[in-house]
Symmetry: C2
Subunit: 289 residues, 2 copies
């Protein structure tokens, strides 16, 4: 079986190439260059991996769903980095869009990346079946809008200015909205493409998403800023409650491990075909950036 | 036949009610109130009127497509009003979202309104036919993204800082992207819902859109700021080329009238059933706000 690091890198390269082809060409369109800068960022492409490997369980290709979810993720990062939000100058070691261009360009490039995500899903190349495509659109809209990712970002901003630190339940809910919803969409998209039951993948990705968020908090404390290409320990500086500040470092790491075990257990139905999804689950808690 | 003003007001009220039901409830969701503020703004609902009356040509209801296009339009206004873009404090006489709340809230409420537009179109209540729904999504994504409305806004910002004023062709292109694309989507959506040829409606709405933009420039010069509920003569102050600055006031008004004639001619196929679309075309050049 293909080595995990190789598989992850291969899927990232495939997704990056697909995105490059789906983005508007830079020549002749002034918003295209900032969109390329934001979307072709050399990320790990975890969401693309989940989309492609969940579809592979059912013998399907899924490069379009992978590109769509990465366009959606890229939009959220461009807007989160804005001065009025997290005010981040660096993303993966490169200047953020509002730093390299300006704030108006960052708002508009983010807007157009969100639109592109839906445009990609609506394309017949995503699936020949219109019912499948519209279900992907409906599910992604639910996961990313006012009851999903956007709500999570609103709750995250509220957590920063809250007079009493958020409770574990509140942090769990905000993270489930902010990050979990798109991770779940990605992992379930393969079953949607195949018109199969997404139940086991929903269980897998709910646990995976929580473990991912805990590990993010862990890395914010113990991680290497240079390696991550972004500022770390922002939460501690802001006095913001995190999984680590509430549970402690060791218990947080234990909980992440236990969630990864649950995630992998949910895949038993698929036997060894689900090994790529088990490997990425282990990677989520062993990664150092 | 129902009086035009009454019809316009009735459709605006129907659309506002539908939007209210489709928006997340304000209780328990902190991003819902700014979304309501932005979307339930007492606008003329021209796009909703086009969606509903184009569907009525084919005997269909279209309250969902009307609500979707107004959610998309509302998102674009919230982002256009931001300090980094047009920096407007007032919209229809009310404080804009970033004034009433803050910039982060305005970015996020706009983001969620865009998502909501696609979520509404993906709902089976929009059409029982998945192929119809996915075509509405695909067409709206094309009209509103990096090759449509967002591009128009980018071009509009470029026009403000251009060292040589834009030419008539450049203004026509930027306005077609910024405003025309959503107007065309609205007027063609009825044919899409009915799975009928959208050709006549595309011709109608391309001419209507151009007339609308010319009249906007006319009103920016001769309009009443208090009536409009927004700042006027911004373009003249900014030394920005407009249809009026290039053509002169009288020729601009003549061109708008001639375009409305063309728009109405394109509807001959539909006979008197298209009278509501002819009436709104006359309204576009006779309106005073």
């Amino acid at each position: 079986m293909e080595n995990f690091e190789h598989r992850l890198a291969r899927i990232a390269a495939t997704t990056e190439q697909a995105l490059r082809d789906l983005l508007p060409p830079v020549a002749g369109n002034p918003i295209a260059a900032p969109m390329h800068h934001a979307a072709l960022n050399g990320g790990k492409r975890l969401r693309a991996y989940l989309a492609i490997e969940s579809a592979a369980l059912f013998g399907l290709d899924a490069v379009n769903t992978a590109a769509a979810i990465e366009a959606m993720h890229a939009y959220s990062l461009v807007h989160d980095d804005l001065p009025c939000m997290d005010d981040d100058d660096l993303r993966r070691g490169k200047p953020t869009v509002h730093v390299k261009w300006d704030e108006a360009t960052a708002v508009l490039a983010g807007d157009a990346l969100q639109t592109l995500a839906f445009e990609i899903l609506a394309d017949p190349l995503t699936s020949a079946n219109a019912s499948v495509r519209i279900k992907l659109v409906a599910d992604l809209a639910r996961a990313s809008g006012a009851n999903g990712m956007v709500l999570g970002q609103v709750q995250d901003i509220a957590a920063e200015t809250a007079t009493t630190p958020f409770t574990l339940d509140q942090i769990t809910e905000l993270q489930a909205n902010k990050t979990g919803a798109l991770i779940e969409w990605s992992a379930c998209s393969g079953a949607t493409l195949a018109e199969e039951d997404a139940g086991p993948l929903a269980t897998y990705s709910a646990a995976l998403g929580r473990a991912f968020q805990i590990q993010d908090d862990v890395l914010d404390v113990v991680g290497d800023a240079e390696l991550a290409g972004k500022r770390l320990q922002k939460d501690a500086e802001a006095g913001k409650a995190t999984f680590v500040s509430i549970l402690g470092l060791e218990a947080a790491q234990q909980q992440a491990s236990s969630l990864i075990e649950q995630a992998c257990d949910a895949l038993s139905l698929y036997g060894s075909r689900a090994d790529p999804l088990r490997q990425v689950a282990q990677f989520v808690i062993n990664r150092n950036l």
